[in-house]
Symmetry: C2
Subunit: 326 residues, 2 copies
């Protein structure tokens, strides 16, 4: 029996605890609870489980992306290792900017430029080698200012929201401009999202037999840079259904949000506004690598619900796993 059929009060009535404890009472939380109630309760807005597709951006939506996306620090570690083998690289751009943490020059490359550097740096690795290196990095690497490990800078309200949606029969996906393999290395543990529900930027791979073992070898060539309109394309390619729920934090998510919001029936699109300099960072249109401007300016017109980190979230980050273990 499908849980859809169990209760006229909607699936989430089965959950005994109050949902979304890290969300403050306010219009954003109310919009989420109302939406989930409507699509899970028999009535005009009810949707079967197969239609309950939710997509989330990652950088700046599910975890901290300031002062630079985590991907940058991972690429930096990789380039330092390459330079130890080939010192000449140190004087070549874009490696020079990366290695000197020349943030102005890095921002100038743009987010796609950063991804291309990473693609070059990891070319020749197998998927399995990359995965091992990514997990090793994530297990230890710390944020330069906040001190915590990057994986302890995921947002507690969003982890709750993902779980709440799944409890209510949603299938949750990440649709990230970040590299698909790096995000897959953390998504299952951090967000409960399996690899096949992560969509992201990717490189071409080549299938080879190495010592009799079939491996996928990363090429330097970009397969897909998953930003802006490409996010909508990749939702079509990987998911094959229009989401009914989407959550982003920048203009890079606008196509995904509008694709989601302009379908028939009940829809919810949310945008996280980073307005909390005290607990995290405050930024929007001036963040060159991933600005938030059009989506914020036209949120009401496009039907987007803006979430204020400062006002709508009671807590920001998940508990620090290393602190509690100590």
């Amino acid at each position: 029996m499908q849980r859809d059929d169990l209760s006229p009060g909607g699936d989430h009535s089965a959950v005994s605890t109050t949902p979304l404890p890290s969300w403050s009472d306010g219009p954003a939380k109310a919009a989420i609870l109302d939406f989930v109630q409507r699509v899970t309760t028999p009535g005009p807005d009810f949707l079967p489980r197969a239609r309950r597709i939710a997509t989330f951006d990652n950088d700046g939506t599910l975890w901290c992306e300031q002062p630079l996306q985590v991907q940058f620090y991972f690429g930096h570690q990789r380039l330092e290792a390459l330079v130890r083998k080939d010192a000449d690289l140190k004087q070549q751009q874009p490696y020079k900017a990366y290695l000197e943490r020349d943030i102005a020059a890095i921002k100038q490359m743009g987010k796609q430029g950063l991804f291309e550097v990473g693609a070059t740096a990891f070319a020749g690795n197998t998927e399995d080698e990359f995965d091992a290196e990514a997990r090793s990095f994530l297990a230890g690497a710390r944020h330069p200012k906040l001190g915590r490990r990057f994986i302890d800078l995921t947002y507690e309200p969003q982890v709750e929201l993902l779980e709440y949606l799944r409890t209510n029969g949603f299938k949750t996906f990440i649709v990230t401009g970040g590299g698909i393999d790096l995000v897959r290395a953390l998504a299952e543990d951090a967000y409960g999202i399996p690899p096949e529900q992560v969509v992201g930027s990717s490189v071409k791979t080549r299938f080879e037999l190495r010592d009799g073992v079939g491996v996928l070898v990363k090429q330097a060539e970009i397969d897909s840079f998953d930003d802006r309109e490409v996010k909508a394309h990749n939702i079509g390619l990987h998911i094959g259904r229009r989401p009914i729920f989407a959550f982003g934090n920048s203009d890079g998510d606008l196509a995904m949000l509008r694709y989601t919001l302009t379908g028939d029936g009940p829809r919810l699109g949310l945008l996280l506004h980073h307005d909390d300099a005290a607990r995290e960072f405050a930024y929007d249109r001036e963040f060159h690598l991933s600005p938030l401007a059009e989506a914020l300016d036209h949120a009401a017109e496009y039907g987007i619900t803006v979430v204020s980190m400062k006002n709508d979230w009671r807590t920001v980050f998940v508990p620090d796993a290393t602190a509690s273990a100590a």
Copy 2:
């Protein structure tokens, strides 16, 4: 609680009916039952559910592909409609060959050539328009020789196998050389596989707002032709894990099979051999559009289990839905 933990006899002990009734007792069925038993039972070969990824080819593996893949007939219907609007097309290749059902010329185009004709014919359609046309086609179109509708020419033993794997905690995927959207239009009803678990050949799409509604518009340009080594690439892209189980029927599946079989731990790779002229068709290396030669000749060396349609399947096709409805 995970079903994995319930029973030392393995998940499938929960199923009261005898599994795989359309499979004859023999080495192929025994290999499947043994494999599933091992990966679901506590012991050296046990694997958690997250690792139980199974991938299936579609044309010739899950449904009939003779004398031509169903996709050809769908493209043919589309081209006839286009010619009604623009009669000049009728004299141009490749339309001419398609419209005259010149099978020799069509086979010469190859499977990729066929897909490219389809891509051209559907360019400009939105994903939603394509889906509606595909479902309309599938609801009525019949096989030219066998009389049944194409969707009633799916293989009963494979439908049972997919269900059996899912009952045992596997996640089942299609990895097809056919167009991803056409296969998605039937996979949920025919095989119980949702759109996001269908991987296939695809075209580029462009996100547009049409009358205020965000749509994905199909372009003529191929995004991915999902055959041979590209199947392994697309498994990496869409699934992000090495399957432990794969099932194909041609050399187009060899990379997928070898990728699956050369990983660590328990593995099963199967190849359907069409050797049943009485109930379906008998063919292998001479089928120009999708030959089976290397995989058959080296099956033992590569660790592939060959399934004989004639000997291993008690029935071939699912019940005829239109006959039982009449």
